[in-house]
């Protein structure tokens, strides 16, 4: 059971996109990480693996499933790229790969996390902005489903 989630500390994110490259290298050329752009900043947008998963309920082909490990996964053989899950996701964390006509989403790097390691994106983060923290801690700190408040250096 993977009882940790990825959170981002905006104070530390330098938009280097190392997490994106690591995700792509880890998944043999297919990246599962979506980038969200807010004005000048670009930030990685990870799947929260919600308890009440809107994407699973929205999928008409049962391609989106929650595994026993607690990870919301996409079954590549069933997915037809209809985008229902992408529209249903309240966080906009699901990307649609138009070329391959499928959707990609973060699956918490299950091969690594189930082996007791951190996901590739978290391990590679050069500033420690991405953290892989137990859900209990996140609930305590009120960080679940949210990012830590951003604070940028002032400009003269």
């Amino acid at each position: 059971m993977v009882d940790c989630r990825i959170v981002i500390d905006m104070d530390r994110c330098i938009d280097c996109r190392a997490c994106e490259v690591a995700c792509k290298v880890e998944h043999c050329g297919f990246k599962n990480l979506k980038w969200a752009e807010f004005y000048d900043a670009a930030l990685p947008s990870h799947c929260r693996h919600c308890e009440d998963e809107a994407c699973v309920q929205a999928c008409p082909f049962e391609a989106m499933i929650r595994t026993e490990d607690g990870i919301v996964k996409r079954n590549a053989f069933k997915c037809v790229g209809c985008r229902s899950c992408a529209y249903a996701c309240p966080f906009g964390a699901i990307d649609v790969d138009i070329l391959n006509y499928v959707v990609s989403k973060c699956e918490l790097n299950s091969t690594r996390t189930l082996a007791g390691k951190k996901p590739a994106c978290v391990s590679t983060c050069p500033t420690g902005a991405l953290r892989f923290e137990p859900i209990v801690n996140l609930v305590e700190k009120d960080l679940l489903g949210a990012r830590t408040a951003g604070r940028r250096g002032r400009r003269r």
């Binding site: 190392a18 590679t124 420690g128 003269r156």
Partner: protein, 562 residues
């Protein structure tokens, strides 16, 4: 399939970050398109890998990787090419040649290359990238622990290390969040990623970083620095305040993360900052694009060999007869027309050379840094000895073995030891800085306020730097294509698609993206290397490696599609 973890180091910038290579089978001779070969990360919390570091596995497992040699266009074994090249080199008496060397090679390989230059009486060993050579020759740095940056209470940063050397960002941010009293001041001509996270930002005029450093030195020495402040477009008190902070801080640091095309006289900037650091008892951290540039440039300098400046002099006079290139793709450094006139070009590299019309092209495949052992010195002055993580691919050999074979076939031999290499790589330099010429040149450049100026910014993906020629395709896949960031004024006048024209009549079509924080006449071009080389093909003097002035022209939709 089980895999074995092999400790190695990132082959790119001078921070030498550790990485783990997951090798499926340690006995495998080589890998071709083997997706099982993966990068992993050390468990220490202080290290990560930037996009380039993550990409380092593709040095080994890439579709442009060279597995055999070439004589002209004929495939040949590495030994056959070496023998052929040695025969050519035996007949070069009285002819002028040059050696190109990559800053990513190990120090022992650089030592052997310098010895080869002496044996063949080649007076020019030019380091690539050019700006790394200039920094390496002028900067004087001492050893300190990486973690000591956390103790820093005043950090003065030149350039944009969060973009060009992102793995240093953790220590800088840790220092910032450790104490509210920590000051991080960025000196740059444009608002950068680093300046966004800094506590203060001194915005100077494009290209005047070295003059700002000259102002700092004058302030330290108690001389007047009014003129310098005026050229940089800052107030006198700002330079004074920086010097005061350097003096009063408990643990001050100066970080220089300079890349091509941001400032004139990059070597002078490094030299002046070294002097400021020395006089204010500050630690200086020079960060270069290639990992061993500082040590290699000192090895070349201590052998009294000339560098890039002399190479360009030979090229401009048409006196260059042949070229030997180790780890560098010559076509990104030397114009095609010059290469075609040469009698022969010997290239020892990891990737297949670019398609071109050079007939006397001798290509030797070599092992990447992950496939060979060597010695290096990082920006903190740590000596790093690394072993090969896997066996070299195909017909490739470690460069040291290739060089030993060349020496043997030339009837000579050279012994190299760790002590010998480190002695020359760490020997401090005392060079004269050309500040007078620089002040005049920068003053002339910044005073032309109406012209549009292009500043080349680093890209954490270093798109198309020639080092990995097909990195552009990779960048496309992660949507990191080079873009021109322009001010609102330029966007209003010239639209989203425009042409830039340099003084040498080089025309380039670009797509624009708005950056409201930019000054009116400023354009920022990412993907520094290829574009930079395209726009500056004829460099008269390394001092001129800086921002360039361009004319802009609107591109109309019909014209563009037609």
């Amino acid at each position: 399939m089980s895999s074995v973890d092999k400790q190695s180091y990132c082959p790119f910038c001078s921070l030498f970050d550790p990485l783990i290579l997951k090798v499926p089978d340690p006995k495998a001779a080589y890998f071709t398109r083997n997706s099982l070969l993966k990068i992993d990360y050390p468990t220490e919390p202080n290290y990560g890998l930037c996009p380039r570091g993550n990409y380092s596995v593709y040095l080994i497992d890439d579709n442009k990787r060279a597995y055999s040699g070439f004589i002209g266009r004929r495939p040949a074994s590495a030994f056959e090419v070496i023998s052929y090249a040695v025969e050519k080199l035996k007949d070069v008496q009285g002819k002028k040649g040059a050696i190109l060397i990559d800053g990513g090679l190990s120090l022992d390989e650089a030592y052997l290359i310098v010895e080869l230059a002496k044996l063949l009486k080649i007076g020019c060993v030019a380091l690539n990238p050019v700006e790394d050579e200039l920094i390496g020759r002028n900067v004087s740095f001492s050893h300190f622990e990486r973690e000591r940056i956390l103790e820093g209470d005043f950090i003065l940063i030149f350039g944009d290390p969060f973009e060009s050397n992102p793995t240093i960002a953790k220590q800088i941010l840790d220092a910032k969040f450790k104490s509210r009293l920590t000051r991080i001041i960025v000196v740059s001509s444009y608002p950068s990623k680093t300046s966004e996270h800094a506590t203060g930002f001194i915005e100077i005029l494009a290209g005047s970083d070295a003059i700002f450093a000259l102002g700092l030195l004058k302030a330290v020495e108690g001389e007047s620095f009014k003129k310098e402040a005026e050229i940089c477009g800052v107030e006198v008190r700002e330079i004074g305040a920086v010097v005061e902070s350097l003096r009063n801080a408990r643990k001050p640091f100066i970080i220089l993360s300079a890349v091509c095309g941001q400032t004139f006289g990059i070597g002078e900037l490094a030299g002046l900052l070294s002097k400021v650091a020395e006089k204010t008892e500050t630690q200086i951290l020079p960060l270069t694009q290639a990992r061993n540039s500082i040590g290699i440039s000192k090895i070349i300098d201590n052998a009294t060999l000339k560098g890039n400046e002399y190479l360009r002099e030979l090229m401009s006079k048409g006196e260059l007869d042949y070229l030997i290139s180790f780890g560098v793709n010559p076509s990104i450094v030397i114009p095609q027309e010059t290469l075609q006139k040469l009698e022969f070009v010997v290239e020892a590299n990891w990737f297949i050379p670019e398609p071109n019309d050079i007939k006397n092209y001798l290509f030797i495949p070599i092992a990447t840094s992950l496939e060979s052992k060597g010695i290096g010195i990082n920006s903190f002055g740590d000596i790093i000895e690394y072993d090969k993580a896997i066996n070299p691919a195909g017909d490739a050999f470690p460069l040291s073995k290739v060089l030993e074979t060349i020496f043997f076939q030339l009837g000579s031999s050279v012994s190299v030891s760790k002590d010998m290499v480190l002695q020359v790589a760490r020997k401090p330099q005392k060079r004269e800085l050309i500040t007078d010429v620089l002040v005049g040149m920068v003053e002339k450049f910044v005073s032309r306020k109406d012209g549009f100026k292009v500043v080349f910014v680093p890209s954490s993906l270093q798109v198309g730097d020639g080092f990995i020629t097909n990195r552009l395709s990779f960048a496309k896949a992660v949507d990191c294509l080079p873009k021109a960031l322009v001010s609102s004024r330029i966007l209003k006048e010239f639209g989203y698609k425009f042409r830039i024209k340099t003084r040498d009549n080089i025309v380039l079509e670009l797509e624009a993206e708005e950056d409201r924080k930019l000054k009116d006449n400023l354009l920022l071009l990412s993907s520094n290397y290829t574009l930079y080389r395209m726009l500056l093909p004829k460099l008269a003097h390394p001092l001129e490696l800086g921002p360039i002035e361009v004319e802009l022209e609107k591109v109309y939709e019909k014209e563009s599609t037609g």
